[in-house]
C-alpha cells in the first residue's frame, strides 16, 4: 500500500515536503520502529491502518493521545474532512494523488488554546463522577429500599415471610415516633400490621378492642337517648407515636367539643327527663354544680336495698346522708370529750378515715377497726370483758340469753356473781347479781332487760337506728337498721387526696377540715363533701396563681362497666 505524507516544513504553512511509504501500517512518532519521526513528540507513536481512501484506524502508544473534535483518545478513526491533533501537530486525511492508496497532511497545529486545554486535560473535566447518574442512583435507591420493599412485604405476606431474615429495611422505618410503653408488648412487637391493617386507612376501633376488651364505655351507645357517640373512634382521643409518649389527649377540647353543645348528642326525650349540663371548662361559670352520688335505703318487701341516686343540684334542698348511722363529728373531735387512746390528744380525721391506695377513696369504717376500741359491746357489769357480737342481731340475742342462763344455772357462778360488789357506772345498766327464780327464767329475764337497755337507752341505740315491734319475743322485738356509709360521693369524678395534702403551713388535719367542714356537725346526716365553690377557690380559671384544671384531671372518659 502506497501512503503519501505531506508534511509542512517547520515554521511554514506554505512549504511542505512529500514523503511516500510502501507499508500496510504507518508508524509516526518518536519510537524506534517509527516510519516517520516527529521531533516534537517526546515519547510514543501513532500507528495508522488505512481503511480505504477516506479513513484510517489509529492506535497510540506510550501514553500518546489524539485530540479529536471532542476528546483525547488513544484509539479511533481518522476521517477525511476533519482535523486531528497529535501533540503540536495537526493531521488531516487528504485527497489521494494518483499512484497512492492513502494520503495524510501533517502540519503545525493552529488550535493553540484548544490544544493547550485538551492537552493538559483541564477545564471542563469534572472527574469520573456524573452528578446526574449519582442523582438517579440515590433517587431509585431510596424509593426501592424505603418504599418498594417495605410496601411489598406489607401487602404480600409471602414476600414478608421470605425477607424477614434478610438485612432489609422494613416498615419499621416508617415509624413516625416511638410507641407508647403500654404497647411495647410481645403481641405487637415490630409488627405494624397488628394495628395498621389496611393501607391508607386509619386504625379502626376493632384493632384497639381486640386487646382492650373490657373497656367501660363513656355512655351506653345503644341507649336510645344517645346519638352519634358511636361515630367517635378510639383514634380521635388516643394518639400513638407521640414524642414524648402521650397516648391520651388531655385537653379540654376532648370533652368540651361535645359537651358545650351536648343537646346535639341527646334525643329530645332525654333532654326533658334528665338533661346533661352544658360544660365549657372548669370554673364557677362554665361548669355546672357537682351532683352528689348518694346511696339511699329502700325497704322493699321487708328487705333493705341500697340504691344509688344522683339528684340534681338544688340550692333549696339540702342533701342528707341516709346511712342509718348515728354519729357526731363534733363530739369526736372535741378534745375534752374524746382523746386518742395512745397519745391522749384529740382525735384526728385519719384515726378513722384511712386512705385507700387509689388516693381518692377511704377504707370502709367498721366497728371492729374504728369504734370498738372505745365503744366496747360489754353488756354484763359482772363480766365486762364479754362483748356482744356486732353486725348480727340474732347472734347478739342468742348470746345474751345463753350468757345469763348460764350465769344463773351454775351454782358456782351464782355464788361468785352474788359476792361481787359492782359500782354503778353512769349510763350503763346495772345487771342483777342474784335471782330467785329458775335459771332459765332468770337468764331470759335478765337478757330481756339488757336488750331493752341496749336498744332503747344506751348501747346499740347509741349508734344505730332501732325500731321496736309490738311483741315480747326477744328475737323479734327490735330491729337494727343496717348501716351503709357512702364510699364514693362523686362517682363520675376522680380526686387525688394525697396531692391536696401538700399545703404550706397546714397539717393534714387542717387541710381536711379546710374542705370538709365537719367539725361542728352533730348529725351523721350532714354531708361535708365540698361543692364546686370550694374547688374554684384554688382552681378558678383566669385567676392569678390559680391552678387551672382540664376536664381529664377530674373526669375519665371510660366508666367502669357497672357505671354504664
Amino acid at each position: 500500500m502506497f501512503i503519501l505524507i505531506r508534511k509542512s516544513v517547520f515554521g511554514s504553512q506554505e512549504e511542505y515536503q512529500d514523503l511516500d511509504f510502501d507499508v500496510n501500517e504507518l508508524v509516526i512518532g518518536n519510537t524506534e520502529n517509527a516510519n516517520l519521526v516527529l521531533d516534537e513528540i517526546a515519547d510514543g507513536s501513532i500507528t495508522l491502518k488505512p481503511k480505504g481512501e477516506d479513513k484510517a484506524k489509529f492506535t497510540c502508544s506510550n501514553g500518546l493521545e489524539v485530540l479529536t473534535q471532542t476528546k483525547l483518545t488513544a484509539t479511533g478513526t481518522l476521517q477525511k474532512g476533519f482535523t486531528y491533533q497529535l501533540g503540536v501537530y495537526d493531521i488531516e486525511v487528504i485527497d489521494v494523488p494518483a499512484g497512492f492508496d492513502f494520503a495524510l497532511n501533517i502540519s503545525r497545529s493552529k488550535r493553540k488554546s484548544l490544544l493547550t486545554k485538551k492537552k493538559f486535560k483541564i477545564e471542563e473535566k469534572k472527574g469520573k463522577i456524573s452528578i446526574r447518574l449519582l442523582s438517579y442512583l440515590l433517587f431509585l435507591s431510596i424509593l426501592v429500599v424505603y418504599l418498594l420493599i417495605p410496601y411489598l412485604s406489607f401487602t404480600q405476606s409471602g414476600i414478608k415471610e421470605k425477607t424477614k431474615n434478610l438485612p432489609l429495611v422494613t416498615d419499621k422505618s416508617w415509624l413516625s415516633g416511638p410507641m407508647a410503653m403500654a404497647h411495647r408488648i410481645p403481641e405487637i412487637g415490630d409488627d405494624c400490621q397488628v394495628c395498621h391493617v389496611k393501607p391508607f386507612e386509619k386504625v379502626q376501633d376493632k384493632q384497639c378492642l381486640s386487646c382492650h376488651q373490657n373497656l367501660g364505655e363513656h355512655v351506653n351507645s345503644m341507649h336510645p337517648a344517645v346519638k352519634e357517640i358511636d361515630k367517635f373512634l378510639c383514634e380521635n382521643c388516643h394518639k400513638e407515636h407521640n414524642e414524648p409518649a402521650q397516648i391520651t389527649r388531655t385537653d379540654d377540647a376532648l370533652c368540651v367539643n361535645c359537651h358545650q353543645n351536648i343537646q346535639k348528642y341527646e334525643t329530645q326525650n332525654s333532654l326533658k327527663k334528665n338533661p346533661v349540663q352544658v360544660v365549657t371548662g372548669f370554673d364557677s361559670d362554665n361548669h355546672p354544680p357537682f351532683r352528689l352520688s348518694l346511696i339511699q335505703p329502700k325497704l322493699i318487701n321487708g328487705a333493705y336495698e341500697w340504691r344509688k341516686n344522683r339528684p340534681k343540684f338544688d340550692l333549696k334542698v339540702k342533701p342528707i346522708e341516709e346511712s342509718n348511722l348515728k354519729f357526731s363529728h363534733k363530739v369526736h373531735l372535741d378534745k375534752e370529750l374524746v382523746q386518742d387512746e395512745l397519745s391522749g390528744q384529740s382525735l384526728v380525721c385519719s384515726n378513722c378515715h384511712q386512705l385507700k391506695d387509689d388516693k381518692e377513696h377511704f377504707k370502709p369504717i367498721t366497728m371492729d377497726k374504728d369504734c370498738r376500741s372505745c365503744h366496747k359491746l360489754s353488756f354484763d357489769v359482772f363480766n365486762p370483758d364479754i362483748e356482744l357480737p356486732h353486725g348480727n342481731l340474732r347472734a347478739a340475742f342468742v348470746m345474751l340469753e345463753a350468757h345469763f342462763i348460764r350465769e344463773f344455772t351454775d351454782p358456782e357462778l351464782r355464788k361468785k356473781r352474788s359476792r361481787k360488789k359492782i359500782r354503778r357506772i353512769p349510763g350503763q345498766h346495772s345487771n342483777n347479781a342474784t335471782c330467785e327464780g329458775s335459771s332459765l327464767n332468770c337468764g331470759r329475764e335478765e337478757a330481756l332487760k339488757e336488750a331493752q337497755f341496749q336498744f332503747t337507752q344506751s348501747g346499740c341505740i347509741t349508734c344505730h337506728e332501732v325500731t321496736t315491734n309490738k311483741t315480747n319475743e326477744l328475737m323479734d322485738k327490735w330491729f337494727v337498721k343496717p348501716i351503709k356509709i357512702n364510699q364514693d360521693w362523686y362517682s363520675k369524678a376522680q380526686f387525688d387526696h394525697v396531692s391536696h395534702f401538700s399545703v404550706r403551713n397546714k397539717d393534714n388535719e387542717e387541710v381536711c377540715l379546710t374542705c370538709h367542714e365537719i367539725e361542728n356537725s352533730d348529725d351523721a346526716k350532714d354531708i361535708a363533701i365540698p361543692q364546686r365553690n370550694k374547688c374554684v377557690e384554688c382552681h378558678q380559671k383566669g385567676i392569678e396563681n390559680s391552678v387551672e384544671l382540664t376536664c381529664t384531671r377530674c373526669h375519665a372518659f371510660h366508666f367502669e362497666q357497672q357505671e354504664k
Binding site: 515519547d43 483541564i122 473535566k125 469534572k126 440515590l138 431510596i142 415516633g177 407521640n242 377540647a253
Partner: protein, 291 residues
Amino acid sequence: MFENLLKYKKYRYLSLSLILIVSAAVIYLTQGIEQPANGGTWQGYTLGIFSAFLVLLLTYLGIRKRSYSSRMGTVEGWTSAHVFLGTSLLLIATLHAAFQVGWNIHTLAYVLMIAVILSGFYGLFTYLHYPQVMSKNNNGGSQESWLQELAQIDDEIKNRSGSCRAEIRLLVLSAIENTKISGGLFSQLTRSDNSKIKIQSESDKYTSNKNQERVISYLARALPNSLNHAEASAIDGILSKFSRRQRLLKIIKRNLQIKAYLKVWLLFHVPLTIALLAALTVHILVVFIYW
C-alpha cells in the same frame, strides 16, 4: 453579582423568609394543647405541606435557570429566593418535625434536607468568596491567557532545544509532554501534580516532575557541562522558560482549584436534592399508608 443576589429588590426574599419563619413559629407554638407538638397535628401538617412546597419551589431553580426563554421571573430573583427560602426551610421543616428524630425515613428526609441546605450554604460562600480569590490569583490575566502563554513557552522551549544535544532535547520534550495540570476532581481540589519526566540517561522509567523541579534541577546541573557555547546559551534560555512555566502552572492550578471549589458542592447539592425528593415522596406516602 452575588452580593446583588442577596440584596435583590431591597432584600425582598430576606423579608419574605423572615415573615415565613415568624409565621411558622407562631403556628408551631399553638401546638401542645391536644397532644405534644408533632408532624401529625393540624399545625404539623400545615408546616409540613409548606415545607414540601418550599422544597419543590427551591428545586425548580434547577429547571428555571436552564429555561432561557422563561418569563417567570429573573434567574437572579429565583436564586435570591432560593438562598433565603432555603434558609427559612431549615427552620420551618424543623418545626414541622417538632425537633423529633429517629432511625426512620422521616428523619432521613430531614437529614437529607439539612445536608442539601448546608451544602448550599457552602456553595453560597464559594460564590461570595472565591471569585475575589481567583481575581487576585490572576492579577489581571486570565486562565486562557496563562494557557496561551504556556503553549507559547512550550513552543519556545522546543525551538531552543533544537540547539541542544539529543539527551537534553528529549528531556525537555518529555517534561512538556508529560506535564499534568489537572486530572480528576480530587486532583484539582488538592492541586496535586502528577507531572512526570523520562530521563533517558538515568532510567527508562518515568519519574515525578512535580512543580517542574526535576527538569529544572537536571537542566541546572547540565548547564555547566554544555558541549559548547550555543548549547549553554540554549540551556540557559530553556531554564528561564521552565522557571516561568513553573510559575504559570501554579497560577493555572490554583485557578483550577478555585473552579473546583466553585463546583464541588454541586456534586453534593444536586444528588442530595434528588435524594431528598425521593425521601420526601416516601415520607408523605408512608404517613398515609400507616395513617
